[in-house]
Symmetry: none
Amino acid sequence: MQERTVEQKPNARYTFLAMTRHGQLEDRITKAAEKLFAQEGFAATGMRAIARVARVSIGAIYHHFKNKEEILESIVREEIRRRQRALDVLRAQGLSLQKQIQEIIALHFDLLCENSDVARLFFRERFDPSPVSKRRVQDLYSDVAEYIAGIIREGLAKGEIRSCQPLLTAYTILGMVEAVSLRALGEDETAGLFMKEGPEELARSIWLWLHLGQEERKADA
Amino acid sequence: MQERTVEQKPNARYTFLAMTRHGQLEDRITKAAEKLFAQEGFAATGMRAIARVARVSIGAIYHHFKNKEEILESIVREEIRRRQRALDVLRAQGLSLQKQIQEIIALHFDLLCENSDVARLFFRERFDPSPVSKRRVQDLYSDVAEYIAGIIREGLAKGEIRSCQPLLTAYTILGMVEAVSLRALGEDETAGLFMKEGPEELARSIWLWLHLGQEERKADA
Amino acid sequence: MQERTVEQKPNARYTFLAMTRHGQLEDRITKAAEKLFAQEGFAATGMRAIARVARVSIGAIYHHFKNKEEILESIVREEIRRRQRALDVLRAQGLSLQKQIQEIIALHFDLLCENSDVARLFFRERFDPSPVSKRRVQDLYSDVAEYIAGIIREGLAKGEIRSCQPLLTAYTILGMVEAVSLRALGEDETAGLFMKEGPEELARSIWLWLHLGQEERKADA
Amino acid sequence: MQERTVEQKPNARYTFLAMTRHGQLEDRITKAAEKLFAQEGFAATGMRAIARVARVSIGAIYHHFKNKEEILESIVREEIRRRQRALDVLRAQGLSLQKQIQEIIALHFDLLCENSDVARLFFRERFDPSPVSKRRVQDLYSDVAEYIAGIIREGLAKGEIRSCQPLLTAYTILGMVEAVSLRALGEDETAGLFMKEGPEELARSIWLWLHLGQEERKADA
DNA sequence: AATGAATGAGGGTTCATTCAT
DNA sequence: AATGAATGAACCCTCATTCAT
């Protein structure tokens, strides 16, 4: 299950381990909440709405979750676990720096496609004031940023990457990926284009950016 | 604050035209709402809270605004007007492509510093479901993206910019800027660093990226 | 209003100062709550029921009271004020010990007749676990007991009352009065009898008890 | 604890016959409910709380009792049976009137000490609205009152007791005993004093009261 | 223009109770 | 006999909004 082959197919390569939740009812509730939280927002989503969408009684929800916040927390916890695991797998593969960047982007788009509700939820949770999950999501974000910064530092040491502020650059890269993928979540023509060409174009131009700057620097010197 | 000179100072150059609102009371309400919407979210902010923060009676709010949504709409409308105006000013200046990119980034950071409440509100509104303003904010975002894409297209035509998908690249640039500025809104050391060095570093490396890629391409060919 | 004449009429002599509450709506709510708390108990009384009985919207209740407990607290506070005031009046009159005992009993029955709901509520609050008012009511009860104990001590000093433990005897007297008045709250024949003859019979026999024991003691010696 | 001798010791003489309930589990439930009903009140006690305290599943409770009310009813029924039995024993002993009064008081205090939860529950049930048990408890109370009234009537016939309204006087006596024992349930110094000296002091002074009044009456005539 | 009392629908949550296992 | 997941009515309370003043 862990071993993965880096093939040509651009998407759907990081969708392993869907992590079945503990009960089917619990799963229905979580799925419904994901959808509604993503669509309407946490505060604007009512328990009754979750119950209706999940085709479950309100009481049943409270049988499985302490309160509304715990549903969100559960969703976030699970998704973060999945993402961290995917990152760990990626880290363990010993790919080249360029390949790693490429894979991080691919991973991002895969997760987006696989469960766009949670992906949108994560976009929002970074700015939302939900006391529970905001921190967790931001921490995950920091983690990914640190991972990328690490790659950049390694590239700097190896002379593969132009001089830059690693962490700031890492956030910059994350921003690029998110902006494109967020736009790709839309439903118009542009969104489709971004979803199809985004990963490759991003990978190419980001590496260009990191790598080529260095060439020029050399030339400058 | 009103008088402005386009000098070297990287920030605080696009803060002209704070646009006095119609009444003092109306202004108090709007400011309170900005703060609360940014902090707590639209759905989680109550009219009572707005009234309390604005030191105004609930009745007074309804005297000036039809309902809660209209307050948000008013805030968004006003802010969009300001931003569009700033863009128009920028467009009209006939700057070089590199300078235009640089100025767009500076504008973004200026707006952030001047009124971080509204800036945060805008971050969120792009994902939030408030039926009224979401569209408007997304349209503004598209506008800015199109503007940047226009610059890129011009650069492609002039041979100043390497080959790329203009709109996708525009979104990429917007994403970079947002990611860094969003991180700069934090309150730790890194945030301070990003706020100080972000605009310049971004402008420099984005231009490097757009421009130098082309050099290499030439070399490739 | 304060000056009172101790006439023959057995009841309704301590009903002065009904203490109009601040608003008529507030009053309706309080009256309804008194009735329901007395009939059904605090925990078993719903806000909807109070609203229905008071012919008031639920929102209106919360406009005047922070929560259900505050309604109870308000009722208890007001009633305790009335009772303390009545006690003060009684204390200030400089009556003979026998007369004071008699008047305390009369007062008790008057309050019972005037607003039996609150009276029943008070019976219950002494044992109920409502955190708010239980203490207050018990304190009032202690106050009355202390007052009676004071009378007894004075009687002991003057040699008008037989030797006894003053505070224990005071509680005993209170218990006698309450037991009879509680029974008088029923709706059968016995209740009517108790209501009519209770005050006098109690006053007579209590005094007999306090006073005559002393005679015998003398005889014993 | 089971073996009992009618000795001098003022307390703990009526604690025979704890009446083992039908099942161990049923017993645990009942004990838990007694405690919680006494502490929190019937309405405020949830089935979950009972199940938790009794270390029993909710289902198990419903296996043994039809519903929450039936638990209360069972507790009340059992306790009333015990008290009635104790009264029967007392009645059957052919004691002197004075001794009977003394024993009734002792019985009251014994029951209080043995199971103060149920005792407090009984205090409350007289005012509480639980449709089932309120009536039963009041009936028991009436029974005891009637028993005492019977003693008084007998005393009147024998000329041992002064002229009085028998039933009203019986309630008066019950009230005295309850007031003192209720106060003895507290946890302060006074409570300890009342618990220790209450029964004797009450028995002595009540008899004094009933008996000596008569002497004086004779003197009056 | 400005107030804040009043409304009642709807918020999250707990409840006693049922029932398949 | 015993479990605890599931139900949905009802709980207390807050909400955006109205309207008489």
